[in-house]
Assembly symmetry: D3
Homo-oligomer: 329 residues x 6
């Protein structure tokens, strides 16, 4: 048994995207990557040095194996993945935009193996031995009602085992209604210690709207008795040029991350890399470090193609120390 | 209203394949093509000069539009396609092999828009005006029970309109059992004038097994009162080097096509190109021409990547005249 | 006979461009696309929903067929194309720049099949049945003196049939002198209802120079008795970042399009997509709509590689409604 | 601590090869893969189901990390790799040939981190807990005199721990002389239970030459008191078409593997995949199974680009059962 | 002034070919290479060690410069190229086939700069100082009547300077009739010392038909008083698998080259590489060496993509010594 | 003997870089280019019209030949290169960044053939006949102590022959300490007429720090009795968007180059292209022209992938005349 700091639970998909700003209708090549909110978190956390296990349910075909392979390539433990010969591996298609055309995503994820998971299929008691934190997102329970039950089960077992729970709200309007999301997510966030979200998702799921994001974070922390609430903040003056930062509210205090100008290579999965960095910083040095590592590694992630983060801990810390833009030799 | 000689009905999918003999697990690029038995037939027939309309049901997203675009690129009329905002576009993955590793295909086609078609959605009466032949394959009714009903409806309307019916038996074990196939296909082939098949499919679907393929063709023609039965014949001494020919039985006579050594670039869809050439030859000059055009254009198809045929009528006839392998300038 | 709203007449070429900002001398790969002013217009108009036929003259070889194929892929009717076994298909090479290096184009278009067209080769009477608008550009008559005669013939027949005529001034200094252009274009614009141009071309061809583009548009409208004059306006602070808008003068009034910041993927053909959108808007809802659809679809076009536009009507309208730069899911 | 059946020790390098049969002088793209004799063995064994740890010494830069990443992607345990900030990662360049031009390899491996390893840097006692077999090749001790000492140390510790030792003779004339190889390899093979080699290497290193390879195997087994000796046998009528088989001598008996016609995609590393399959079969079912699994998985490997094997156990067994060359659906 | 052994005169073109056996209609990428009979000869001769100057006429644009660049890349002296701002650079398109589809070529070379060359534009007296041999092919005079005059001028000056003349007959039916070719080529071959040709071209141009190619060579040598006649011999059992050899007749004797099985990567330009090797061998060691070097280097050339040869002298000699197909390390 | 204006001496390497902003760990393709400070200078100078010879020491394998080939492709004379069968060709890996991730470089250059050069291996007396300027950089003597001796030898012979010496300070901290650099470079710069550097390198190597770069240039000129000192100036508001200019101090006067906004495709080697342009301008028209040509051609270089410059003299002058960003047709 390898040692894990973190355990992740969620869906990973095959991601297909045309190169060179081609539209899907126009391409005859697709880049193939794997991605999924919790897998993305796992990879970022592992790049920084945490031990991470990733739990999902996958069809045993080349596409399912590719997902597990890529998790392993990043050192993420895949030995708890539930394999099945049935169902399918979800796919999604990304078209990269340029102002004034935004990026767009077409999902084809229905009836995937993880959407068909049922409570009892994962041996959470075994998995959680020695673990510090369990993380999932609002996408996992949105996949299906059985997936929602399986998510609640994981959270319950984690709580009973005294493991901290982290939730990324991550509302997906294509998967469920705001009402349904509110009902399920309230229960999950109630059981959580850490919540990562955006102003917009908070309003859509919990109907919380405040004058500024600091107050949103505070309101969430109070309503759900959370140890920390993080909110990521993106400005998009253009598709290729964004700014990126985040704040966290913890113990009555606002912690602000650095703000970066981003030349965007691929912004898909940046929130997840933030979470990976946040959890790393949080476990090592509390909420102030959390928001700093979260912002820095997710800023770096946006300069790599694919959902997954390829920055190292050393690069992340160099950026936090104001590394500059000269060629690194 | 454009003039059509042929009308096709069936499923087309997005086909994804790794370049350069990579395995799916191994690739980070995919070639994207479109293909599907009846679309492949349509394109081959159109390349030779027939007017062809292709009927299917497609989700109105970039993948569905790509399928219609590629049909149009080949001059195939897509104006009768049924569009929907629901359901999905099927995909399939092809891994190209090398001896002793065969090609392999992973399908992800469940719940596609065409599998969800229901009788009454297509205005066959309008479509069939002035048409000479209707063609479909054993894949279409295998997609779902409603697709089977829709296929039977099309055949019924065609018969009533005095239009010849052509069927490619094309048994797909992943889609239905031999028993179910026999039940449905017997009804369809009973209504047909032309049947295109292989020895193996004939045995699996109809339980017909004879000493040689000539007798199989004859037995089929007699049992189902068919005007013509064609059987394609492939030998595979290696993955990259096949031989390819076909015979047809019509009016008590066996017609043999030429036999070609093939350096295989992509064999997927060769049977369909045979059918396209067969129908072209049949409509223009009867069964002897049919089998010759069918074999020649499908031999050429196997030298093009993708399901679709890019040979011209002139090239097909040059090959039939014994064109040779010198550089054509 | 399919129904057409628009008929286009002009040259399409094979376009070859090195990927990844390589210089031509430096590349060992070329992207291959097709393009040509009137074909580009045809495609944009068809993407928005018009029925369009494209008339040209093409050599019957793989390059000529590729041009027709790509027009068909976009649903443009190619059945009136004049095919020949002689002459050649023009090509042009594009090098994509980066500040301070501008894009550059090398043409190799002399003696193409369309440059060799002669009056009487196209059956305009048949083509124009039921058509609302005929469009060509100043490039077509510049190709050769016989092409100029053929263009005048088309305009004459259109006028006689009561069909509106639209002209894009599109001055090409490599093809003819300003004097020759003025002589021929004056006759064509005199017969036109709609003129699309830029300030600079107006000065070069007609010697019209005013304090601002609104006055240029007005002067053109008055001098040539035009129903509408549109002028496109580009600012190029850098190669990768432009602004883009247009105005139209019609019935004594200036109509202004929205102004967009463009992250330029490929600006070749943007004026043509503007024209396609302009004609769509004009036919559906008059000059105010014309300039809005024109600007929006051509802004989107500049984010797609290739001359041709891949935006949908829905995307165009979403942009006009202020769609924003968030990921579209 | 994860469970391992096998432990490997050796060098892995970055492999760079021009695509599409280009010569190195001619290319402007290189495919990048990782490979190395023992890593290749590790991957093949793991694909079949063994637990494998891979021990090497790597420079901690992106190239070193890529090697570890790819091992992990295949499920190979990399936690015992010795990391250093010094030295370099070896590279090698492969040019793929076509008859009459053979494949060629240019090595640039001098002074790599593993060549600089010294005895005492690896905690073999810890690594060997619960392990069944230790494997290395004749390349590892050839890298440098300290690497030779480190290899001998590993073998000594393995023997003391009662772990079987497997050696692939793998003579590399660029690395050391036949005399030096004989001296070092004699000591290592003396300590081994399993030897894998070719007729030619046996003659060059040990001066053993017999009438046929069966006698060579027998002679080796007797001279070095080996439990099993395997000899791989390749015929190369052309570069793209080889035959491939192997025999093993064990306990006084010759075991013959099946013989396959190979359409060669990439033969580099096939001997290593043989070894991986041989060790899997040997541990599970003795020498007869060993040679069968070895030949089958290495036949499949030669149809994948790269040194590493991507076949599954199911595919290997399907081939052993005479799977045939039909498309697998 | 650099020292030259050989001077070449002829046309080089930009060669465009779809990768991966795609048809032109089907591709969206083209490989770009340069080629042309005499340039191909120049490169092969230089690879073997001769000093070579290449004379042509080129348009001074990126395409013209690319041709000169690639000649220089191979060490061929381009300082005598005649540059012009007018005319164009010829292009040609190659589609690579697979049995039963042969390779095909589409030329677009009319009105190129070299076709517009006139006698007097090249300072042959200066160029020929210290040169041993002048070479051109039957393509050069076929380009235009002025090119024919310029070719004759070059041959005249060479003869006057006592330089040997070598001619490759190279009949191109698209460029001129057999009658015209006979008239011009008779004059050129009359002035030559060396003729390189095929049986088929000899029959088409000179009407010479004999029982075997040895007699053809002898007849040519006698009719035109030639020092050596070489005939290349290709068998094409399939597109990807050819055999290749040649013979030479000199001083009453037949010299036979080795015969190679070729796995064909790109056969375009193989005859030219033969000539390059032939001239190298001839100048160094007479006709027996000529035919051996010619066959070997042109066999190797067929395994490289592009018209140009990338073999080294060492590789050529290794092949002549029976190098075998083992990996070269 | 060809005429040369300039002679260069230094190291060129194989440069490997992942496309599309991939990290090295993430890529399976590498672009291959060649580069090296003095080769880059040679190419820029040759593009502008100077005759240039490049001296280095190279291993005679495909990588070494590729370096010479690419120099020849640009018309640079490579006939003085010292070839060896020993040692290796250095490589380096470039990762292209995006804000806030800077570009990074990993070198693997130790023990290259040029690092192993010894005084006496190059016949400088022969090379310097008729030459105007000798140029090298601070990288060459940093490669090894024998390379430092060989560099000093070249400078000594140049001085004795009355040839001007130009030095680019180019401090590489990975190759030597500041102390060692100061010792060696002081001697070399003392012998030089032209020094090209940056403020930062000046401080690191010579400890010279002033209020502004004009004073730095002046201080250098005075301390080392230099005819001209040039300092390049880059601002990096983001990775993809820089500004670029330079100044030169000569004869008591500051000459300022134009300042350009750069959309950065590849900034590696820009300083070297500056030097190539500077030396061209200096030899033709003195220091004012030098700084103008230097800035313009190096601005253009940054828009080409690779270390080498592909701009023409005409393009450089067009930019200096304020060419603008419109499409060049």
């Amino acid at each position: 048994m390898r040692h894990h700091d973190l355990v992740m639970f969620g869906e990973a998909m095959i991601r297909l995207s045309p190169p060179n700003f081609r539209r899907l209708e126009q391409t005859n090549l697709l880049d193939i990557n794997v991605g999924g909110s919790e897998l993305n978190v796992a990879v970022a956390a592992q790049r920084l040095g945490l031990g991470v296990a990733y739990v999902t349910r996958l069809t045993n075909n080349p596409l399912g194996r590719m997902i597990a392979n890529k998790a392993r390539e990043h050192g993420v433990d895949t030995s708890y993945i539930v394999w099945t010969d049935d169902d399918r591996v979800g796919t999604y298609f990304v078209e990269f935009g340029a102002s004034p055309r935004p990026n767009s995503v077409v999902y084809d994820r229905r009836d995937s193996a993880i959407a068909r998971i049922r409570p009892g299929e994962v041996d959470w008691d075994a998995i959680f031995k020695g673990v510090k934190m369990f993380h999932t997102s609002g996408i996992t329970p949105a996949l299906s009602s059985t997936a929602a039950e399986a998510t609640k089960e994981a959270v319950r077992v984690a709580r009973k085992a005294g493991i901290k729970v982290s939730i990324d709200l991550n509302y997906r309007a294509l998967l469920w209604s705001q009402e349904k999301a509110r009902e399920v997510m309230s229960e999950l966030v109630d059981a959580a210690d850490i919540l990562i979200t955006t102003e917009e998702d908070t309003e859509r799921v919990f109907g919380i709207k405040k004058d500024n994001y600091e107050e949103v974070a505070k309101a969430l922390a109070e309503q759900f008795h959370l140890g920390a609430v993080a909110i990521t903040l993106r400005e998009t003056p253009s598709v290729w040029r964004n700014t990126w930062t985040a704040i966290a509210y913890a113990n009555g205090k606002i912690h602000r991350g650095p703000k970066f100008d981003i030349e965007v290579v691929d912004r898909v999965g940046s929130g997840d890399s933030f979470t990976g960095g946040f959890l790393f910083g949080y476990l090592h040095d509390g909420p102030a470090a959390a928001v700093r590592y979260g912002v820095a590694i997710s800023a770096l992630k946006q300069t790599n193609p694919g959902d997954l983060c390829w920055a190292t801990c050393e690069e992340t810390e160099r950026l936090l120390e104001g590394g500059g833009l000269r060629i690194v030799r």
